[in-house]
């Protein structure tokens, strides 16, 4: 059963490559994604299952397990994947090579679900590399030299990062009681205590390695290069979901291998918190000075995903709750923004923010989505981003260390102000351009507006009624702490 949502999109993606006519291709893509979604739903409804794929040697296995975190990530992925997939279809008509993009797009879903379901580090690593490799064609889809270079930069950073993590694992595996992920950590305490400094270095190396995917300093530089050149749906999932793949791997390393008790109040925790806060700052600050729309959004992703990392690294239940909520709401909001950026590019052929005056009168539906998503990213009630930010800030204040807590609150609030500074002018200039700017209405088709609306409204509705989501996340926390 666990294999179905992994194998299905993989085969489906390969089949999509071979479809020549648009109609069958679109139907196949959407059909495969819908069936995968159904399979994911089924897996989530069933109790926890596990499955061993193969024994490599001794205690090392490749295996899958549908634990709480896996279910959470799978649902998040699928929920984002479907609307973005619907958006892809008309968008790609303007870009060309549809079957190539859709094929890889479908296959990426397989890698992500595999990443979520992986029950030990080896499996996780395999799916992580698979995800990096399959998403490269999405980035360099446009085929320009710039996009090719960006794709390879992305690949380089990802692979280098994953390599760092793997190198760390070589050291770590010796100290684990079991190779499988165990909520709360699987360290052999007696052995680990004797080698604490080594293990902390290993931890930092692994986190920085996976941090490359999540856009954490110092390996964040691929994001602003890759996003502007990739097609909009690719940027959307790259920002919304793939970076979260890195976060997922970091959660697995922190909470399922090392365990929060081992790391709490170590220098490694403070170092990584400092890195995360630094990332929050540079992301927001550079976004504020950036004039190109998609690159501004990429910088914004860097800072927003670093909120998630900050929450995780607090190593408290509240922090993880805030982080997981932030994961969801950032995915919803940022995907809306990237899809809207794509729609704007299609409608106006411009990516420069200066030229977007009056865009709200040209594309009102799109810009309403942008407004909602922007407010969510800033953290304005009643949008969902507010709920996650409230939880994160509260967790920061409640964390054992006042220094880290106040620094975190200060940085998050500063970043929220900067976020308002770089997102709201787009909206206000879009809707209130001044009297002398006349624009005609030219909205994109329903296939593009409906996904955006769905995501933006989801951020609003889940913000007002976050109970279900919060209960789910709280249930998850029980498995970790």
């Amino acid at each position: 059963m666990l294999l179905v949502p992994i194998v299905l999109p993989l085969i489906g993606g390969i089949l999509v490559f071979r479809q020549k006519t648009e109609k069958t291709r679109n139907r196949l893509t959407l059909g495969v994604m819908a069936i995968t979604a159904a399979a994911v739903a089924l897996v989530c409804l069933l109790p926890e299952q596990s499955l061993t794929l193969m024994d490599i040697q001794g205690s090392l296995q490749m295996g899958l397990r549908s634990d709480g975190l896996a279910k959470f990530f799978m649902v998040l992925t699928t929920v984002i994947w479907l609307p973005v997939g619907l958006y892809c279809l008309p968008y790609l008509r303007h870009v060309g090579h549809e079957q190539q993009f859709l094929g890889f797009y479908t296959m990426t879903l397989s890698a992500l679900i595999g990443l979520a379901l992986a029950c030990n580090f080896v499996t996780l690593y395999m799916f992580f590399e698979m995800m990096s490799l399959i998403t490269v064609p999405l980035v360099l889809h446009n085929g320009t030299p710039a996009s090719r270079r960006a794709g390879l930069k992305y690949l380089g950073y990802s692979v280098f990062g994953a390599g760092m993590a793997l190198a760390g694992y070589f050291f770590l595996s010796h100290f684990l009681t079991t190779q499988n992920f165990v909520g709360g950590g699987a360290l052999n305490r007696g052995l680990a205590m004797a080698h604490t400094p080594l293990l902390l270095v290993v931890y930092v190396v692994m986190m920085v390695g996976f941090g490359a995917k999540a856009g954490m300093m110092p390996l964040q530089a691929w994001l602003p290069t890759a996003h502007p050149v990739a097609p909009a749906p690719a940027s959307a999932v790259l920002s919304g979901i793939i970076t979260k793949g890195g976060v997922l791997a970091m959660i697995r390393v922190t909470y399922y291998m090392f365990g929060p008790d081992f790391l709490r109040s170590s220098w490694a925790q403070w170092l990584l918190i400092a890195l995360a806060l630094c990332t929050v700052f540079i992301g927001s600050m550079l976004a504020l000075r950036e004039r190109q729309l998609k690159r501004r959004l990429a910088y914004s992703t860097i800072s927003q995903v670093a909120y998630v990392l900050f929450g995780l690294l607090l190593l408290t239940p509240g922090g993880v709750e805030g982080a997981l909520l932030q994961m969801v709401f950032h995915a919803l909001a940022k995907d809306t923004l990237f899809l809207a950026a794509g729609a704007i590019i299609l409608s106006t052929n411009t990516t420069q923010i200066d030229q977007l005056a009056g865009i709200g009168k040209r594309m009102p539906v799109t810009m309403w989505c942008v407004t909602l998503a922007s407010l969510s990213l800033i953290g304005v009630p009643p949008m969902g981003g507010f709920v996650s930010k409230w939880n994160l800030l509260l967790a920061a204040l409640d964390s054992g260390s006042p220094t880290a807590g106040y620094a975190g609150v200060g940085m998050l609030i500063l970043s929220a102000l900067l976020t308002a500074g770089y997102l709201l002018p787009i909206v206000t200039r879009g809707f209130f351009p001044g009297k002398d700017i006349l624009v005609e209405r030219k909205e994109v088709g329903w296939q593009m507006t409906v996904p955006m609306l769905a995501l933006a409204l989801a951020a609003l509705v889940l913000g007002i009624f976050p109970m279900g989501l919060q209960d789910w996340v709280t249930g998850l926390l029980g498995q970790i702490f």
Binding site: L60, V122, L152, V159, F160, P218, M285, P381, L417, T428
Partner: protein
């Protein structure tokens, strides 16, 4: 029943805002009737709150923390007042917007703001209050930017920036409070604060000051007042009336809640509020006196009146158990000021429609032959100036009386009264300035000779609906002023319960000499200032006639001089640092490319030589092999190989 009413009051405008667009598509008239009906329903329902006993409404877990609402006392008073102002502005809006674009947008945000404002006033915990406060900030942005003139857009930008900043400060303040106290419900706060140990009082004060920043930004307290004199004049007149009359009160309401439920008589807190209020009061009055734009004068006057109210808030804390006068004065001045600004701004809208200008020199004498407008305006102006027998006199007297009482009490204990005496004198002087600038407005509009190039308006210079709205506001003010014991005192006593006001001492004789004294001093100062400053110093001869001169140098602007340059500099410095930090990763990669991989240097290109020709670089066909990323890929593959080897060994 009451739960239903409260939720209806809040959610109904949110829901009712959406049909505006389809209705307008059918007919403009339908839309105009529709918004009036909505406002009327809202007013009726809010009046219904008075007659339904009941408890608070709780929506658990909405927005994570859950929301609580309550009605009664000040909450109901403010809700009824908002609904009333909304209905009155709805009546006058139609005429004002007869020939303008984007009315749908205005009405849409007008209704959203009403819902949010109801949420603010009916909140029973600070979290709920904050949520609706933020919604209100963003929806009212559209009012300021409505006309899309460059000056309006700039003012709207300032407003938005201040709102966002204030909102974030408020958020941090509430977080600190929540973390310390575990709840934000009004009725549980005082007990929890009393139970805090002494070490946490600094933290409490910090949290309170952050809340004060957030609420003060909306109320227009110094130094975050900069948006107010800019945003109010550029908004459409009905919106200005609401911005000045009631939206600023939402900030005051927040300050009241924080100061009454968290810092009952905390010395530091009340001192801060007192001095901020005093500074706002004086600065607003001075700015109003120097301005020559009708709506700007009214906006600065709002700022000044908010300062009076803030002094009342602080005095409630200082006076402890004896604070009935201060609490009543605060409530009544909030009420009066809302009604006064309704009348004055709607009148300003009428003037603007008649003359298409707001400059005093263009509109002077326009109202000479319009007795109705003249009367209405006079009632508003006299009320705000605190002339006896008008409503403003009562509330200002109460506020002044609370200051006098404080001084009396302090001197009875032999304590130093300099600070409060200073505040009292500034209070009286600001009252005098109020008299002076309202006289300036009144004389310019209704007594001065008519300015040239004014169109002679038809006899019907305002529609019956506007006339009705204006009259109702003015009549309410007049009735309040003439029969304070019957109207204002019961209201104040009822609303004072929310502020935990102590019991009053018997009846107040408003016309007793000790009460009249302050008002007469103010009036005297006002007359002197008007004659000496306005007529002599602020008038200039231009050709044949005397004109009102704007002597305030435009360069001297806190926003342009300080806030914007500082923000620009900070963002430049921040971006430079961020750029430097962010390029560390890329630099390493670059260094790696240059150092680690000792590539063959580029093909040697000798000097151009006729005999030997030039070697041209062959065009690259395989770009991938050149990049560092490719090398990293190889490294990754190598690591995979190593893993596989180790695993299989």
């Amino acid at each position: 029943m009451r739960t239903f009413l409260i939720l209806f009051l809040i959610l109904f405008p949110f829901a009712a805002a959406y049909p505006i667009y389809p209705l307008r598509r059918r007919n403009r008239h339908y839309r105009d009737v529709y918004v009036r009906v909505i406002a009327a329903v809202e007013l009726a329902v809010s009046l219904g709150l008075l007659f339904t006993p009941g408890k608070t409404a709780v929506l658990s877990r909405i927005m994570g923390l859950g929301m609580q609402f309550q009605a009664g006392s000040l909450s109901t008073l403010m809700a009824v007042l908002s609904a009333f102002l909304w209905l009155m502005t709805a009546l006058s809006s139609r005429e004002y917007f007869a020939n303008t674009e984007h009315c749908n947008r205005y009405y849409f945000f007008w209704l959203l703001t009403l819902g949010a404002l109801m949420g603010v006033f009916l909140a029973a915990d600070l979290f709920t209050l904050f949520v609706f406060f933020e919604i209100m900030s963003f929806t009212s942005f559209a009012w300021v930017a409505q006309s899309e003139e460059p000056i309006a857009l700039r003012a709207a930008q300032t407003y938005l920036a201040i709102s966002v900043f204030g909102g974030m400060a408020l958020l941090v303040g509430l977080l600190l409070l929540y973390q310390m106290l575990g709840t934000l419900a009004f009725d549980r706060l005082p007990g929890l604060v009393a139970a805090l140990d002494a070490r946490q009082h600094t933290r409490l004060l910090v949290a309170g000051l952050l809340c004060l920043t957030g609420f003060g930004a909306k109320a227009g307290l110094v130094p975050l007042h900069i948006w107010l004199p800019k945003a109010h004049p550029v908004a459409p007149a009905p919106a200005s009336a609401l911005l000045s009359g009631i939206l600023t009160k939402s900030g005051v309401f927040g300050i009241l809640v924080v100061s009454r439920y968290l810092f009952f008589s905390g010395q530091e807190w009340n001192t801060v509020v007192l001095w901020l209020g005093t500074a706002t009061m004086v600065l607003g009055a001075v700015l109003a006196l120097l301005a020559v734009d009708l709506k700007r004068i009214l906006a600065c006057s709002s700022m000044s009146q908010i300062g009076f109210i803030a002094i009342g808030v602080a005095m409630q804390g200082f006076l402890g158990e004896e604070n009935a006068l201060a609490a009543w004065g605060t409530v009544l001045h909030m009420l009066n000021h809302a009604l006064i600004k309704l009348v004055l701004f709607v009148a300003a809208g009428v003037v603007y429609m008649g003359t298409h200008s707001l400059n005093l020199n263009d509109i002077r004498g326009w109202g000479r032959n319009k007795p109705l407008l003249k009367t209405m305006f006079f009632i508003g102006a006299a009320s705000i100036a605190g002339v006896p027998f008008f409503s403003g006199y009562v509330s200002k007297t109460l506020l002044h009386e609370s200051l006098v009482e404080m001084i009396r009490e302090l001197s009875a204990h032999g304590a130093d009264t300099t600070a409060f005496e200073t505040v009292e004198w500034l209070f009286l002087i600001s009252g005098g300035l109020t008299v002076a600038y309202m006289t300036k407005l009144y004389v310019a509009l209704f007594i001065d000779p008519r300015a040239d190039n004014q169109r002679f308006t038809a006899r019907e210079y305002m529609t019956p609906a506007t006339r009705f709205a204006l009259s109702l506001g003015a009549v309410a003010l007049a009735v309040f002023g003439l029969f304070p014991q019957l109207t204002m005192e019961p209201l104040a006593q009822w609303a004072g319960r929310f502020l935990q006001a102590g019991p009053g001492h018997g009846t107040i004789h408003y016309l007793a000499w000790e009460n009249l004294e302050g008002a007469l001093i103010s009036l005297g100062i006002g007359v002197v200032v008007y004659v000496v400053v306005v007529r002599v110093l602020l008038m200039r001869w231009e050709g044949e006639r005397e004109v009102y001169a704007s002597v305030w140098p435009t360069k001297l602007d806190l926003e342009d001089l300080v806030y914007r340059p500082v923000l620009r500099a900070l963002s430049f410095v921040g971006a430079t640092c961020a750029r430097a930090i962010a390029s560390v990763g890329d630099l390493i990669v670059l260094a790696g490319e240059k150092l680690l991989f000792l590539r063959a240097p580029g093909v040697f290109v000798p000097k151009r030589n006729e005999n030997f020709g030039v070697y041209i670089r062959r065009p690259k066909r395989f770009l991938i092999g050149e990049t560092f990323a490719f090398d990293l890929t190889l490294a990754g593959i190598g690591l995979i190989g190593a893993l596989v080897y180790i695993l299989l060994r």
